[in-house]
Structures are given as structure tokens and as C-alpha cells.
Symmetry: D2
Subunit: 89 residues, 4 copies
């Protein structure tokens, strides 16, 4: 090819521009997500807990419960929570 | 309100679902970006350098040149590059 | 100063070498942490939950309990957990 | 074992405390690194470029040069830098 340095400039430019357009779209959506959290906060919701809920919803209920049970077990063994955990399950 | 625990469940659900939809859209775009890089790689481009180019294009040329000049200065002072840098500027 | 390009090479080198030594030390400790988790895993502990316990221990008990209470509230409002949460508090 | 819930509490506590000690040490070193950068800044060095130098020193000279050459090639192909790159290599 007649490209300087053997690089297909047009092709490279096309890739870079596609990436830049997609990154711009991704940024817009990331900003939208921030806006929804801000709106939720404005309605009295706790953003940190809301993020945790969104993250927990990605897991299956059984998976969540199993992890919670092990966490409870460890926290009791370390004296981080007082009552016997067995009664909750 | 008649909501259990004082939380407006419908409103909370609406926020969570809006966030989940936006996160899904964001994931699709992130995957698209990965696909473009993979396609560029398939066309012989170096993905690591391509990422760097995309990142550098976000800076103004003057900013880039200034940073490069200082980097050159430091690298020469440390013996990381051999020739005198002055000749390039 | 007689330094090339006006950079105090010896001083720069001293800073870089101090940073590199510290980064090396930090890496050794990071590897030690990984080793302890691996050893815990080898003794039957769940590493993911162990990490969570270590993270939760950085918070005050009141803080943890408050966050848990709000999380429970939200999860109930969303139908993610079944029973009434009020009885636990 | 006689441990509540089948968890060896003493062993768990020992792991957690070892991890916490190591994390504390790691934090001290991370703070030391920040201090060195701050001191370098106080002596007129550009912290951002200094970080880049430290990062570049982890690569072999040949590797750095090769990456720079490809970067130059791409930037020329995209018109991000003006002159012909061939003369520099």
C-alpha cells in the first residue's frame, strides 16, 4: 500500500472514530445513571444502599442467602454480632 | 404513607429498574467497544497502542507536546534515552 | 545549574529510586496478603466472605447495623426478601 | 469441633488479624509513596510525568522504543503529529 509507514490511515481513522463515538455514547449513559441516582437521592433514598441493592439483584436469591449465612457465621465466630445465628435460618 | 417500613416501594422499584436498564445499555456499548478493538486487532492493529492513541486524542496537541517534552527531559536526566533531546524541539 | 535541560538529575534519580523501593515493598506486602487469603482458603474458609468480613470490620457496629437495616427495608420493599423486617429490629 | 456453626473461631480470628496487620503496613507504605511524590512536587518536579517515568522504567528499553515507534506511526497516520517519523529511528 502507499500508506506512510505501511499503516492504512483511513482504516485506522475509521476504527478510532467508531471507538470515540461509542465511548461518547457510553459516557452519556454513565451520566444518565448518575442522574437517576441523584434523583433517587433527591427523593430521600440512600444512594449507597441503592447501589448495593442493584448489585445484589444480579445474584440469585439462593446465592445471596448462602453468602449471607456464611457471613453471619464468620461474624458470630469473630464476635462482630451478638445473638446466635442459627435462629434466623 | 401505607408503605411497609415507610419506603415508597413503587418509587424505589421504578428507580432500580431505570438504573438496571441503563446499566444494561452501558454494557452493550462496552461490549461494542471491545468488538471494535477486536476487529482492529484482526486487521493487524496493535490494540494497546490503539487505546493509547484514543486516550491521547482527548488531549490538546499543545498539552501532549508539553508533557512529551517534560517526559523526554526526565528520561534523559535518568539516562533512559541517549541522545540530546534539545534537537527535537 | 549545570544540569542538562535544567533538571537536577541526581535529585530526580533519588526520588525515582525511593519510589521504586517503596513500590517494591508494597508489592511484597500485597503478595503476603494474597498468601494469607490462600492459606485461609486451604483451611476451608471462603475467601470472598473473608474479604467482606475484613471490609466490614473497618466500620463501626452502629454504622453496619444502620446500613443493614436500610438494606433490609429496601429489599423487602422490592420483594427480594419475604418476611416482615420489623421483627428483627 | 466444638466451634459454633462449625467455624474455627480462633483460626478465623488469626487470619483476619494477620490480614489487617498487613493491610495496615501496606497503607503506611502507600502513604509514604504519596509523601515522596509530594516532596518531589515541592522540589519542582511534575508528579504526573514522574509517575509515567516510574511506570516506563518497568519496561525494557527495546519494548519502550518499539511501542513508541508504533505510536508515532499511528499518530502520523491520523495527522496527530506533523513531520515524517522515519527520520527519528
Amino acid at each position: 500500500m502507499a500508506e506512510p509507514g505501511g499503516v492504512a490511515g483511513d482504516q485506522l481513522r475509521a476504527f478510532v472514530e467508531r471507538i470515540e463515538r461509542l465511548e461518547e455514547e457510553k459516557k452519556v449513559i454513565a451520566d444518565d445513571i448518575k442522574d437517576v441516582y441523584a434523583e433517587a437521592k433527591g427523593n430521600g433514598f440512600d444512594v449507597k444502599i441503592l447501589r448495593k441493592v442493584v448489585s445484589l439483584r444480579k445474584k440469585k436469591p439462593e446465592e445471596r442467602e448462602e453468602e449471607d449465612a456464611v457471613l453471619d457465621l464468620y461474624m458470630h465466630a469473630l464476635g462482630m454480632i451478638g445473638a446466635a445465628p442459627e435462629s434466623n435460618y
